[in-house]
């Protein structure tokens, strides 16, 4: 679990008695953001009719996220496109950077994912109330439910709505942590079994690395698409 420890880099920064020091977690957040910004900078520097390779990648990414939003949340979600685009890229690159040896996985910390999920939850709730007023509470009362079941369903709906930030944050955090822990366990097997028996866990390790890269992408995608779905609930009141 040593790979998940957070330690201070540089001097201690304390503001109003709260420790806000620059840590290795902060460092890798900055690294991921720098990678994203550099990538987008080179991808959007030339605006050619026939795109260069990196320009093509950024444009495909743009279209990918745009399609994801319009498919799940409709055209009303267009103003939130930059946020979801940034969120997707941030989670994706943080996950991917975490796959490098000796790096730190920002998204494997519950506090990071929880803050993102809470922000999304609060923002979506505010958007819902701003767009629909108190009618937004209809989201807890699905239509077409027998009157007898209605109190029960409403309670369940409220619980499921309130558990959204928890499920969203824990899903990402647990996936990233479990994957890295598993890789570490198999790495440990390779060392302890030595040159004779180490080959089997080593091959597992290699396969798991591929799986983890898939998971890193998938979890970023899931995080973004769930945000879109929550946004869709707030924008288009279906019930």
């Amino acid at each position: 679990m040593q790979q998940f420890t957070v330690y201070k880099i540089g001097p201690e920064i304390k503001i109003a008695g709260v420790d806000l020091s620059f840590t290795n977690a902060s460092l890798f957040m900055v690294v991921s953001t720098t990678i994203i910004i550099a990538f987008l900078y080179f991808g959007s520097r030339e605006r050619k009719i026939i795109p260069s390779k990196i320009q093509l990648i950024t444009e495909m990414l743009y279209n990918f996220v745009a399609k994801m939003i319009s498919d799940t949340a409709g055209s009303k979600a267009k103003p939130y496109f930059p946020f979801i685009f940034s969120l997707f890229l941030f989670v994706l690159i943080c996950n991917m950077v975490g796959m490098l040896p000796y790096s730190f996985t920002v998204t494997s910390h519950i506090i990071v994912t929880l803050i993102m999920a809470l922000f999304i939850f609060v923002a979506v709730t505010i958007i819902g109330f701003v767009k629909h007023g108190f009618k937004y509470l209809n989201i807890f009362v699905p239509s077409g439910v027998p009157a007898v079941l209605l109190p029960l369903i409403t309670v369940i709906e409220i619980i499921s709505y309130l558990s959204r930030p928890v499920s969203l944050s824990v899903r990402l955090f647990a996936n990233m942590m479990a994957g890295h822990t598993m890789l570490k366990v198999f790495g440990g097997f390779v060392v302890s079994l030595g040159i004779l028996g180490g080959w089997l866990p080593l091959s597992f390790s290699v396969a798991l690395t591929g799986l983890e890269i898939l998971v890193a992408f998938l979890q970023a995608y899931v995080f973004a698409i769930l945000t879109c779905i929550y946004l869709n609930d707030a924008l288009n009141l279906h019930h």
Binding site: M1, Q2, F4, T5, V6, K8, V18, D19, L20, S21, F22, T23, A25, S26, M29, V30, T33, I36, I37, L40, Y41, G43, S44, R47, K48, I49, P51, Q55, T58, E59, Y62, N63, F81, P82, F83, F85, S86, L89, F90, V106, S108, H109, I110, I111, V112, I115, M116, F173, M177, V185, G188, F189, S192, L193, G197, L200, P201
Partner: protein
């Protein structure tokens, strides 16, 4: 295989005891939570602003640019296609007219030529007929003339023959009458 499995189980036991030493999840240690939250918000805000203000408009611009260019090119292509179709139609009508003209000219010239040939033929036929008539007249004339000269010749021959055979001269007029009689009887036979 069983040996390998045994080794694996032992290794798991060793490893779990190893992990036990550093037990506890660093994620649940609240020491740096505030710091992580602070840096996350700071970094993500910077990322969000730079993406939404600088990069997305640029990417969108180039995508729109390409879409417009493709649309324009397609429109141009359609326009040119229409134009070429129009030109082909024009060409076809011109060709049709030309064919009609050719047919007309052919017919006209054929008619003119036919008439010309007909008139010339009639003229020549008339000329030929005239010539034939003339020739026939001449022949008839000749025939008439030849009858009298034949009569004279035959009278002379007859008188000579008679003179040679009998040694005497006959009356001219009686010979003449005999020749005329013979020739009258048989002239149709020879002429």
């Amino acid at each position: 295989m069983r040996n390998l499995l045994g080794i694996l189980i032992i290794a798991i036991a060793i490893n779990t005891s190893l992990f036990a030493a550093e037990a506890g999840m660093p994620q649940l240690d609240p020491k740096y939570w505030a710091s992580q939250a602070f840096w996350l918000i700071l970094v993500f805000t910077v990322l969000y602003i730079s993406i939404s203000k600088f990069y997305l408009p640029k990417i969108k611009y180039s995508l729109n640019n390409r879409e417009n260019k493709i649309k324009d090119d397609l429109e141009d292509a359609n326009k040119f296609n229409d134009q070429s179709e129009k030109k082909i139609k024009e060409y076809e009508t011109i060709m049709e007219n030309a064919k009609k003209d050719v047919a007309k000219i052919y017919l006209e010239s054929k008619n003119i030529l036919d008439k010309d040939i007909q008139t010339k033929k009639i003229k020549i036929e008339k000329e030929i007929e005239n010539e034939i008539l003339k020739a026939q007249k001449e022949i008839i004339e000749l025939k008439k003339n030849s009858i009298s000269s034949i009569q004279i010749i035959s009278k002379d021959i007859a008188s000579k023959i008679i003179e040679n055979i009998s040694g005497e001269r006959l009356n001219e007029s009686s010979i003449k009458a005999a020749v005329e009689e013979v020739s009258k009887k048989n002239i149709g036979k020879y002429l």
